[in-house]
């Protein structure tokens, strides 16, 4: 990866080993040294709260993992959000009690573009008719950044494969990415930018609230707008396509098993306060009722919630046997860690409708143990097509690239299905009509679209185990 590098250097009155131990100790040393990680070893996920606002406020989470580590000498972090790059900390002993610390940041062109945009500079990409542009609207920042972490990689993998097969309409396909910062207002703005840049399709890996804002902004511009991952349905038609797992199917697939495991049928529902979680709670109430369970209480919290003390007290008071979480991204991570820290993990069974591989690893193996998840795809799916797909992903993005999930795999699928629709469309059939009837074998298995709002796919039930998801059914 060609990149630019910036560095800062400073001498600190501490030994190199004491300084190394300070990393991740939450001692208030600096945003970098106060990294949140469960272990300082290669492969361990790391979250860094980078102060970007005036006076050090308004932090954004930089999500990465430790890629190299030499005690007392070096820590290297490869990060994927909000931009892709590498942070290196080098420690050099000057004398027994003094260490020279060098922090180096490497970033590529997209990283530079992200920072320029976040600083408020205009980022209009001039139209280029020599390429076939496709847009990815995703959340590189904000609470959603945790579950979208591999989406850009998977979109790029699909684009690479489409280009290997000759591109589209005789042109090379180029991916353009917009970051909604998990905010609907920003989603509308970024969607307009993608259209202005000449994108012929927008595939969205954003919350339903952001997707709705994008639909209102660009839904009538004539280009397909696809929401391929978990959503509550509705809003499809014309150029708008909504695929992905639906809450009612997810809960129906797991409700009986979970109540049997809990030896109880009282449910507590917790979710973020926006359209998907509202729809999911309604659907879950119906599915739980069908399965003979009863919802005893529920709570909805704003996106970006980090303290769940009051919710946990409420769950305990309710005497629930099962908890259904419709929290997303960093909220889900914070909630599940707090359940575990409070010693409540075995008090009830937990089903989470948006707990993907990336959220799971940031909760941690121990803290996430036993949580139930239902998706049409898990990275641990042991099928020849998935194993081959994962090998291509690792070959392209390396061993430290984030885990693949149903969210990110669905981005790969959507771009391939779009390419197939473009190739099949002609004078009398539109790309959208082909998207309505798209079907193909994908890493998750056979998928078939029917109409603008549904995708047939097999659902798998899994439980979080010692180092990933253990598939229970399927």
């Amino acid at each position: 990866m060609a990149d630019v590098a910036l560095a800062a250097r400073h001498e600190v009155p501490m030994s190199a080993h004491d300084l190394f131990d300070l990393f991740g100790a939450q001692a208030g040393a600096s945003w970098l040294f106060d990294a949140r990680c469960d272990a300082v070893i290669p492969g361990a996920p790391v979250t860094l709260s980078v102060p970007v606002g005036p006076d050090g406020g308004d932090p954004i989470d930089l999500l990465g993992r430790i890629s190299r580590c030499i005690p007392g000498r070096l820590i290297e972090i490869v990060h994927d959000q909000p931009w892709q790059g590498v942070l290196t900390i080098k420690l050099t002993a000057v004398d027994a009690g003094t260490t020279r610390v060098t922090v180096m940041a490497n970033l590529d062109e997209r990283g530079l573009a992200w920072i320029m945009r976040r600083r408020g500079w205009p980022h209009d990409l001039p139209e280029d008719h020599s390429v076939h542009r496709v847009g990815l609207l995703t959340s590189n920042s904000g609470p959603g950044a945790v579950y979208t972490v591999a989406c850009e990689h998977l979109a790029q993998l699909a684009v690479d494969e489409i280009n290997t097969e000759g591109g589209l309409e005789g042109r090379r396909v180029e991916l353009v990415v917009g970051d909604d910062a998990t905010d609907p207002g920003r989603a509308a703005l970024e969607a307009r930018h993608l259209v202005a840049a000449g994108c012929r399709v927008i595939v969205a890996s954003v919350t339903s609230a952001s997707f709705e804002a994008a639909r209102r902004a660009v839904g009538k511009t004539g280009i397909p707008l696809i929401h391929p991952h978990v959503n509550e349905g509705g809003g499809g038609g014309d150029q708008v396509v909504r695929w992905g797992e639906r809450p009612i199917d997810q809960v129906r697939a797991v409700a009986h098993t979970v109540m049997r495991s809990a030896a109880g049928r009282r449910w507590y529902l917790v979710g973020n306060n926006y359209s998907w979680a509202h729809g999911a709670h309604r659907a879950a109430t119906q599915a739980i009722d069908e399965a003979g369970g009863v919802v005893v209480a529920s709570a909805q919290v704003p996106l970006g919630t980090g303290d769940f003390t009051a919710v946990l007290e409420d769950v305990e008071r309710s005497g629930a046997d099962c908890v259904l979480s419709c929290l997303i991204g960093s909220d889900e991570v914070a909630f599940e860690r707090q359940v575990s820290e409070a010693g409540l993990r075995s008090r009830w069974e937990t089903v989470s409708l948006a707990l993907d591989e990336s959220s799971r690893e940031r909760i941690g193996n121990e803290a996430a143990r036993g949580i139930w998840a239902v998706f049409g795809y898990f990275q641990d799916l042991d099928t020849p097509e998935n194993n081959e797909f994962l090998q291509r992903y690792r070959n392209r993005f390396g061993r430290w690239a984030p885990p693949v999930s149903s969210f990110s795999e669905s981005m790969y699928e959507a771009f391939l299905l779009y390419a197939a629709a473009v190739r099949s469309s002609g004078l009398d059939t539109s790309v959208t009509q082909h998207l309505y009837t798209a079907h193909a074998r994908m890493p998750r298995g056979l998928v078939s679209s029917y109409g603008p709002e549904a995708l047939r796919q097999h659902l798998y039930v899994a439980r979080s185990g010692t180092d990933g998801f253990r598939l229970i059914t399927g």
């Binding site: 300070l22 939450q26 040393a29 600096s30 970098l32 949140r36 050090g56 573009a113 940031r362």
Partner: protein
């Protein structure tokens, strides 16, 4: 057509252009001839084309006076702003060691809340 970030990235990726930027950061404003004198092993024509790339990508400013052209870093350009912003973040990444942290051993248990 390329975006400003793409152009800036290309501009920054070249070692000669990075050397030019380094010299410009040390002096407020210098002529193309001064830059060529300081960067050995690169011809004047090549220096001129490097300066043109840096100017079109929004990194430097050009001022003409008589037969001379003077160059300086664009203090308000988007690329300078983005890099200065990242440099500021890196500056605050270095540990500040207080009395307490010097004497108190860091905790061995790692905690994070996502």
């Amino acid at each position: 057509m390329r975006s400003l970030a793409q152009e800036a990235f290309d501009a920054l990726s070249d070692p000669t252009r990075r050397r030019i930027l380094q010299h410009l950061s040390e002096d407020q404003e210098i002529t193309a001839g001064d830059i060529a004198d300081r960067i050995t092993g690169v011809g004047r024509t090549a220096i001129s084309s490097h300066l043109r790339v840096l100017r079109t990508s929004g990194l430097i400013l050009e001022r003409r006076e008589g037969r001379y052209r003077y160059y300086s870093l664009d203090p308000e350009g988007p690329v300078r702003d983005a890099l200065a912003f990242l440099q500021g973040i890196l500056g605050s990444a270095l540990p500040t060691v207080h009395e307490e942290t010097e004497t108190e051993r860091p905790q061995q248990t790692r905690r994070r809340t996502g």
